[in-house]
Amino acid sequence: MKKIGDKMKNIGLILIFNLSFIFCFQAKAIVDKNNIALDEVISFKIELENAASFGDVNTSGLRKNFDIISGPNQQTSMQWINGRMTNSRIMSWTITPKRAGRLIIPALSISIAGKKTVTNKIIIEVGEPRKRKKDLDVFISAELNKDEVYLGEQITLTYKIYRKVECSIEPFEIPKFAGFWAEEIFRPSQIKFKNISLSGVSYQVGTLYKVALFPISGNENILQPLSVKVKQQTNKKRKNRDPFFNPFFDSFFTETETKILRTQSHKIAIKKYPSSRPNGFTGGVGSFKIFTETDVDSTSVNEAITFKITIDGTGNMGLFTLPKFKFSDGIDQFPPAERFEKNVFRDELSGKMTWEYILIPRLPGKLTIPPIALTYFNPKIEEWQRLTSISQSVIVKELNESYLANNGLTKRDIEVIGRDIKYIHMDHSQLNQINSRAIPYAFYIYLLSSFILILPLLARYVIGYNLGSLPGKIKNNALKKAIKSIEKSNNDGFLDNSKIIYIFLKERFQLPNANLDARSISDLLKNFMPKSLLTDLIEVVKICDRMSYGLSSDDDKKLVNQKILNILKKIDGICI
């Protein structure tokens, strides 16, 4: 038991010890140097004491003043001193400053297993590059064709690299041109170098990237610098090797040095237009021509035609729209298909913008498409210019009847095209609640109907009043009952048919006397039916009386029964 207790205690201690790593870690930020030049790099490390893992580091604060060239690299070490284990984890980055001055690496937050801590902040003094440009072995530049332009006017920006020694260029990211619309002109798949002399020094120069920029807003826009990482072969000088730069390719006499090259930022001044913007100006700046055309000269009603507008020229193509224009009534138009064919000629963005409208004339006659006017600013002559296309006409023939069947339009559609809608109703109607849960009136009517339907049953079972025994009911059922009795007589043998007749007459006319005979019938019914019918009835009653006392064939009996049936039906139909 004691052994088990000891084991449990040890396990508990180990668990507490491990948990202490999670809850009690410390973070410390360190750099290899605090005073550097703008083109130099720093090794930045975060050392974690007693941390269970590396965790997540929020480096957004670091990126404000520094570019991260590589990292984070991770390293773990454990030490046992006096039986106590210490755990150390190091994360390291290679960073380079974005500008000269007093820069701060802010306190970075680190989160491990839901717990957070922050590092200390570090101040870095960044001086200007120590070497003058002509002393540099390799540098990059951002070259602009102009630094003062009108809104929408093209600026050509070219990034170039100059080198005296062999170097390799790492993939780089083009800065975001805030305030500009950028159209790429040239991006080499492999940089081609040519020899030039710069202030008497021989260099090889290559183009990294060329872009056409069109300012779209503001009075002054700033072009952010481009950073490029290069690896340069230098003569071996020192023995100790920096572990953050790969020595793998180093030869015996040379070593690879990583450098961060950066262009300067440029200010672009935006000039105001010489006079106020004219009506119809939609943002076009450059030099343009406008053409319009239709694919046919004549068509039929409801047959589509294509109307094409082309703007050809040099300038901020793709950055402006067509001025508003309206097709005549009686034409259905579909949204245009837009196309831009780019063409770079002597570093100037030129090309062709086209808009293709599908138009469907709905009415016959001469369809005239008005001229399209384009107002634009020409920065070369610093003037507003206006272009107008020629108007286009298409003859629209009457509707082809055979075409109608295959077209979406019905005859009724054709009739109503061009008509106007009817006016609104001013009288406010009864507004009803949407999704009203009110019980419809119909429900109450159904309820009432159901109640009426079961009323006879209720009367019979609740108050014991049998509606079937009512005199009216008996009178109505008299014929039905008589027919049934006669059918039974036919099947079962000849019964007392005179009795059937008497019962019918008693029920049908509600006669008081039960002992009826031919004479009494004649007296009682003389006012209820025509005389001929009464005579026929008396005759049939007499035959039945005779037959009930004598013998007769089955055929005779059936004949008499049929006669009885006819007379009774006649009486039931005629008499009230």
């Binding site: 054709i414 507004l431 009517i445 339907l453």
Partner: protein
């Protein structure tokens, strides 16, 4: 007592609501007359969002949308007006004019004459109206039937009348069932945006664009997923479009 009390409360509530909304309706009409169709639409839509509606309201809203150039919305409003008041001739006329300007046209072969007659009769009255007709017919028939059982009204003509009424009850209620399924089985809507791209799935991503529909087209709504709905247009093509491009009827 309970039913009567509820009926009175509902009536009072409806009257007080309608009083306030009538002013909004009049204001919307005034904006329409001034040519301020945007404001007019706002007011009409406000009444709908407040939970009230009528055939005239949808009709006027349709006109305002039409004047504003919103063809799909106007077709939706005219359809609503006709659903609410099937005999509103002006709404039918204006709908024809609006639909003549539609870009998408799908013509189906017309139905045979009896089907057309049946559809025309069926669409002439609302579900509630058919229900009232059916219930009244039921009431009359029951009265006749009970009278035939109780009283002396049992001659042949009377019996034939009852049979005819019974046949009519069955016919009316079959129409009612048909209308009920029409209303509840499938939801439909009107496309309110132009050139809506319809995709094979409920997001653009790698889904294929199947076809494009334009405003005013009627579509059956099958299911909704997030901000997308699956629709089928009248020729049977099914696809997904953004929810905000269709307005449910």
């Amino acid at each position: 007592m309970y039913i009567i009390r509820n009926f009175i409360i509902l009536t009072i509530m409806s009257i007080s609501f309608a009083g306030k909304e009538t002013d909004t309706f009049k204001a919307a009409n005034a904006y329409y007359n001034d040519g301020n169709y945007g404001k007019s639409i706002e007011r009409y839509e406000k009444i709908i969002s407040d939970g009230l509606h009528s055939g005239e309201l949808y009709y006027n809203l349709g006109n305002a949308y039409y004047r504003q150039g919103l063809l799909g919305q106007s077709i939706w409003a005219y359809n609503k007006a006709i659903l609410f008041s099937p005999r509103l001739g002006d709404a039918k006329y204006n709908l024809e004019i609006a639909m003549a300007s539609m870009k998408d046209r799908i013509l189906l072969p017309s139905d045979i004459l009896p089907v057309r007659i049946y559809a025309s009769i069926k669409s002439e009255y609302t579900f509630k109206e058919w229900l009232v007709f059916g219930s009244l017919l039921m009431f009359v028939t029951v009265c006749f039937f009970v009278a035939s059982k109780v009283f002396i009204l049992s001659n042949e003509t009377f019996r034939k009348t009852i049979s005819m009424l019974a046949f009519l009850i069955v016919a009316f209620h079959l129409v009612l069932i048909d209308l009920f399924f029409d209303q509840n089985e499938q939801q439909s809507g009107i496309i309110i945006s132009n050139a809506v791209d319809a995709y094979s799935g409920p997001f653009k991503g790698e889904n294929t664009m199947l076809f494009t529909v334009n405003e005013g087209t009627r579509a059956e709504i099958y299911q909704r997923q997030g901000d997308w709905v699956e629709i089928a247009i009248i020729d049977g093509d099914k696809a997904w479009i953004p929810l905000n491009t269709i307005r449910q009827l």
